[in-house]
């Protein structure tokens, strides 16, 4: 069917009726909303075609039809292009181009007997305006989040970074459903190798549909088999712009409400821009707390299981009494007890996430308090394990990145099973495996575990701790930025004695 519309220069001039049937029956398969209006002015016949739900119909009447009807002169293709006050008019001689334009929200105008057709984009955009961030909400700092429209997101990024070095490159990916992807970076800071690598991966990518930014990251990341996310997906424009300024590169994807940042390190998933907005000592404290939280979250329950199954010698006598008391009614071995409880907690979390917000809150209360109490009273688990499991669940929720927080929570299960099977040996085996895995991991061919290994002492600022801004004038070395300094060092003040 479509073969008829192959590049065929001799299609025009033609009759307007012919054009209409070719488009309507041939290209659009008799789409009910395809509108073709025929008008006659003096001796000229012309046709206006569009899809009713894709365009601003008012604009077509106001600028196109009114204009042509009211003026007395003779119209042709050139006057259509020059005298209609809509932007981006195009002359089309190929019927397939005309069809595609109409599909993307253009209006096509053809005057009988002319040798080309004119199209004007007048798309109707029904999009969500940028709203407050939901998944990565900040208490303190900018509230705006990316929305689904690429134009809006680009607008936000350019508004936050009005710098002429901000480059944005366009890629179109997807064979079946193409989406536009923008590679954004600061050309005076970002390292060319990272940009080149990202460009290479995007060019290499072949897929039918990109779907979402987090899906795109799974297409282009280094190791698809790892549990850990290797590219950062964020919905916060302030975070996105801050990382670009530090020498990373960003991706914005049309139809997706989040941007992608690359390269990342393991520690960067524990950072939040809020650490920057609060004072440096608070920021440091909160960051360290998150890291400790992560460690506790993967340690506490496995440790409990290992100690109670194999190594009760290590539990002090005083604690052993109360532990024994609360465990005396539990019929399961510690592994099973822990697995049941952790699984239960995961269920509550997942149910709370799936349900509407209001029901979700009730769900949390019912699940957490009522069932939790009942579980202990029924002798399914011990009190102490409930405390431990709740603590480690809490700790895992402090991680700002949703993907990393899920990874940490899932990680607990193999750790619990291993410590249930082989005690501390199993636990440390898992730790060793994890560390080796993280060491082998890369993000955009850069080590995932910097600044810890390869050790970059200067980068510890702004990854594990935070220094006062005046003292941290170096950009992270691990991104190897072109311009290493954020600003010139402030003049040193003379140290004076105690003021008298």
């Amino acid at each position: 069917m479509r073969r008829r519309f192959r590049r065929n220069a001799s299609y025009f001039p033609c009759k307007i009726d012919q054009l209409e049937t070719d488009l309507k029956d041939g290209f659009f398969n008799s789409l009910p909303n395809f509108v073709a209006k025929k008008f006659k002015q003096d001796s000229q016949k012309y046709i206006v075609m569009y899809i009713s739900y894709m365009v601003e119909e008012e604009q077509i009447y106001k600028y196109v039809i009114d204009n042509i009807q009211r003026s007395q002169k003779k119209w042709d293709t050139n006057t259509l292009i020059n005298e209609i006050s809509l932007k981006d008019g195009e002359k089309r001689t190929n019927i397939k181009d005309i069809g595609n334009d109409i599909l993307q929200g253009s209006v096509a105008i053809y005057i009988d007997g002319e040798d080309s057709c004119v199209t004007y984009p007048v798309p109707k955009l029904i999009k969500r305006p940028p709203e407050k961030a939901e998944t990565e909400s900040l208490i303190f700092g900018p509230k705006i989040a990316f929305s689904e429209s690429l134009t809006t997101n680009l607008n936000i990024v350019h508004w936050r970074m009005d710098n002429s070095n901000l480059k944005s490159e366009k890629f179109i990916i997807g064979n079946e459903l193409p989406s536009e992807i923008r590679l954004i970076y600061l050309s005076d800071i970002a390292e060319p190798d990272i940009v080149k690598e990202m460009r290479r991966r995007l060019n290499k990518l072949e897929t039918d549909d990109v779907l979402e930014s987090s899906v795109l990251t799974q297409y282009i990341e280094d190791n698809s088999y790892s549990l850990f996310p290797q590219l950062h997906v964020t919905e916060l424009p302030d975070r996105f712009c801050y990382e670009l300024k530090e020498g990373k590169v960003g991706l914005l994807i049309d139809k997706s409400p989040s941007g992608v940042i690359a390269p990342t390190t393991f520690l960067s998933f524990f950072e939040s821009t809020e650490d920057l907005y609060t004072r440096w000592n608070m920021g440091t404290f909160i960051r360290l707390m998150r890291l400790i939280g992560m460690f506790l979250s993967i340690t506490l329950t496995p440790f409990y299981v290992a100690a109670l199954t194999f190594h009760y010698e290590i539990i002090p006598t005083a604690l052993l009494v109360s532990l024994g008391h609360s465990r005396s009614r539990v019929p399961f071995p510690p592994v099973l007890e822990a697995l049941i409880l952790e699984f239960f907690l995961e269920l509550i979390r997942e149910a709370g996430a799936r349900l509407p917000t209001k029901v979700g809150q009730t769900m949390g209360i019912v699940g957490g308090i009522v069932v939790g109490q009942a579980i202990v009273q029924a002798g399914f688990t011990s009190n102490i394990l409930i405390i431990i499991a709740a603590l480690s669940a809490l700790a895992s929720f402090t991680i700002p990145s949703y993907l990393m927080s899920s990874a940490v929570r899932i990680l607990r299960f193999p750790l619990i099973i291993m410590s249930g099977l082989w005690g501390f040996m199993g636990l440390f085996f898992c730790y060793a495996f994890l560390l080796i895995h993280l060491l082998k991991q890369q993000s955009m061919k850069r080590p995932y575990l910097t600044p810890i290994f390869p050790f970059r002492p200067r980068d510890l600022d702004n990854s594990i701790i935070r220094l006062p801004f005046l003292q941290s004038n170096f950009r992270a070395y691990s991104n190897s930025p072109k311009d290493t300094k954020r600003f010139k060092e402030p003049p040193k003040t003379n140290k004076t004695d105690i003021e008298e």
Partner: protein
């Protein structure tokens, strides 16, 4: 076989990482029982033995670095250049075997350690599989991962040393007196025993081409040796001071016995955790040695490194599951020590004259130009 290796810049690492890589390779299971072994030979003058061993160690490492710097290549290239193709290859193979013996020795010693302390009934085969899986996974990442492992695992286990502050406060100073009571023979056998435990610096031979700033290799390897000697010496001094003479001779692993007395409110017996945590101490050993064996094998015989690694792991697995009695482990460790005396401490000095001649030749050629 090419004498000179060309290694791409992104696979190289800085010489400063050698400090921890060499140190972690030297410290292994042996350190837990080391104070008793020296004490048995040199009594309370053991520290003199360790100091003498330290001096020898520093000289040996200096000699290795000198040889490496004169040839600017790794051990196998040097052997090839100094002895010719056939004999060079023969020596290379001997070194591969020696590294493999060290690898097995690390493995069987740790297995025994675990079986005595935490899981008497756990089969050797199983512990070996746990460790060898990790070795396999890590060595696949190449030398950078192996160095990273030594770096990270050092920091995740070194804090245990701080726990010795408690035994430190309980030291009985009279245990050290009188000084110089042992005779030369006893001190010398103490030196011999200590040198066994200091093996591991052979890593330098293989890793040299991978180092980014080769000028600093000498400095950093000496710092590393100093650090190891400091640790070993400190540990021995604390053990001698803390235990009464009879006691120290009875404790097979004095270090763990010292950990036993530490109890934090949530932790009654620290030694159990320490034995499991010791996995993090011996893993860098096993991984670096595994890399050394497989990479040397590749260098010497042009085989694929993957295949060498798999063969090594299978042999280790068989060996660990067949020979798991204490007698065998002891004899095997002693055997490793004897080999180490020759390959570790002796061989660098054997190569020294060759290196000097090579340097002289190079100078002459430079002068001619």
């Amino acid at each position: 076989m090419k004498n000179q290796l060309s290694i791409s810049e992104d696979k190289k690492f800085k010489a400063a990482y050698l400090i921890l890589a060499l140190h972690t390779l030297q410290i292994g299971v042996g350190i837990a029982g080391f104070p008793r072994l020296v004490y048995m030979e040199a009594k309370h003058d053991a520290w003199i033995s360790i100091l003498i061993a330290g001096v020898i160690l520093h000289l040996t490492v200096a000699c290795i670095v000198f040889v490496l710097r004169s040839y600017e290549t790794d051990l196998h290239g040097i052997l090839n250049m100094a002895f010719g193709k056939v004999i060079g290859k023969f020596f290379s193979t001997l070194f591969v075997l020696y590294f493999a013996v060290m690898f097995f020795s690390v493995l069987v010693n740790y297995i025994e350690f675990v079986q005595v302390f935490i899981f008497p009934k756990m089969s050797s085969f199983f512990v070996a599989i746990l460790i060898l899986m990790l070795v396999w996974y890590a060595v696949y990442g190449g030398i950078r991962v192996a160095i990273g492992v030594s770096f990270l695992f050092f920091f995740s286990s070194v804090w245990m040393v701080l726990l010795l502050s408690k035994p430190l406060t309980m030291i009985e100073p009279m245990n050290y007196l009188p000084i110089f009571e042992s005779d030369m023979k006893e001190i010398f056998s103490g030196v011999l025993i200590s040198s066994y435990s200091l093996l591991g610096f052979e890593l330098l031979w293989v890793v040299f081409p991978f180092i980014y700033d080769k000028k600093k290799v000498g400095l950093h390897s000496q710092i590393s040796m100093g650090f190891t000697i400091f640790m070993v010496l400190g540990l021995t001094l604390i053990s001698i001071g803390y235990f009464s003479p009879r006691q120290l001779e009875e404790k097979v692993w004095p270090l763990l016995s010292m950990f036993k007395i530490i109890s934090i409110p949530a932790f009654e017996r620290f030694d159990i955790l320490a034995v499991a945590l010791w996995l993090l101490v011996i893993l860098p050993n096993a991984i670096l040695l595994g890399w050394m064996v497989s990479y040397s094998c590749k260098r010497a015989h042009g085989l694929k490194q993957k295949h060498c690694l798999v063969v090594l792991i299978i042999i280790a697995l068989l060996l660990a599951s067949i020979f798991d009695d204490r007698q065998f482990v002891n004899r095997f460790t002693d055997f490793t020590g004897y080999l180490g005396m020759f390959f570790g401490f002796g061989f660098p000095f054997l190569l020294l004259p060759f290196a000097i001649i090579h340097r002289m030749k190079g100078k002459k050629q430079n002068d001619k130009k």
